[in-house]
């Protein structure tokens, strides 16, 4: 597949990356960094993506893996001249309605692996797909999801 096809695929599925950034990073600057890191990692992993799995499943796997494996920068938020924010990046910090913000804030209170599980579940991936992305058994996915759903409902109340 060509670079053009890759870019189109990312553009069509970028809502997945935005949501992962929203649940794994608190500050707008960290979300911007994570968004860029995910796109970079997707591009690096692209040669190994043969289209055997759905593009959204592959995208979720790389995005969640990057969010959990990358380290946050420990530095003050100073903007260098080289990376001035542009209009498009400001949009990353788009805020939804109150209920959606509450849902996102509650998900951010879960542990990092639990955030991945609930995001995949809420996007209607099957237990088999979730197990494949995370590398755990389907049975474990079911058990964990039951606990996470209850916890999330308590957090939202």
């Amino acid at each position: 597949m060509s670079e053009r096809e890759f870019l189109t695929m990312i553009q069509d599925n970028q809502r997945i990356i935005h949501k992962v950034c929203r649940i794994y990073r608190d500050s707008p600057e960290d979300r911007e960094d994570l968004f860029q890191e995910i796109v970079f990692q997707l591009w690096r992993s692209y040669p190994s993506f043969r289209g055997g799995s759905k593009s959204s499943t592959w995208l979720y796997r790389v995005a969640l893996n990057t969010a959990m494996a990358s380290f946050r920068k420990n530095k003050p938020n100073v903007i260098s001249a080289e990376y001035l924010p542009d209009i498009q990046f400001e949009d990353i910090n788009y805020e939804g309605n109150e209920r959606q913000e509450k849902l996102l804030a509650s998900i951010r209170q879960l542990s990092e692996p639990d955030r991945a599980l609930i995001a995949l579940y809420l996007d209607e991936l099957s237990y088999q797909q979730i197990a494949g992305i995370l590398g755990i058994s389907e049975n474990n996915v079911g058990v964990k999801l039951n606990r996470i759903k209850l916890k999330l409902q308590k957090l939202i109340k």
Partner: protein
């Protein structure tokens, strides 16, 4: 909210559309903010240590010091520089397996190896530089104390390095444990 309501809310979250050319920029290594930061740091270190070696070998009577001291100094400075290139490669490779559990497991292994070697090389650097300077000096008690005090300044960054790696690897270990555990 019921789970179905949560699902609807999640799926209706509006997200912005980033333009194709901006996404293309993000795939380029040169425009990666973290990697460019590391490259800058590596370049500064390379220039700094090269200047240090030139000063040591030309201006500090290196010819009068034992060959062993010169060789140890060269190795102590060059090895960490070469190893930093491996570190740069490692910081690019966040995806290290076909699923998230195996990827995290492999990454923890690589980071542990990197951290251990990088701490050992830092110790080698401190002792190598120290040995070069004291190789032709008669060690008196006063000089030994001065050397001890000076090495404290070098041990503190080493302690900080160990702390940073312990924290990073510990965080990844916790994530992997929580992911694998049966709740």
């Amino acid at each position: 909210m019921e789970i179905e309501e949560l699902r609807k809310e999640w799926q209706s979250i509006k997200t912005p559309q980033i333009a194709l050319d901006r996404i293309k920029d993000m795939t380029i290594e040169k425009s990666h903010p973290v990697l460019s930061g590391i490259r800058k740091q590596l370049t500064i270190e390379l220039i700094g240590w090269s200047a240090f070696l030139i000063i040591c070998f030309t201006g500090l009577d290196a010819g009068q010091k034992p060959i062993l001291a010169n060789t140890i100094l060269l190795m102590a400075v060059v090895f960490p520089m070469i190893f930093n290139i491996y570190g740069y490669r490692l910081s690019k490779e966040l995806i290290a397996g076909p699923d998230i559990s195996s990827s995290l497991k492999n990454r923890i292994g690589s980071l542990k190896r990197f951290a251990i070697i990088s701490v050992l090389l830092r110790i080698m650097l401190i002792t190598g530089v120290g040995y070069f300077f004291i190789s032709t000096v008669n060690i008196t008690q006063g000089k030994l104390m001065l050397l001890g005090a000076g090495s404290m300044f070098l041990i503190f960054p080493l302690y900080m390095l160990v702390r940073i790696w312990t924290k990073r690897i510990g965080k990844l270990n916790d994530t992997l444990r929580l992911l694998k555990e049966h709740s």
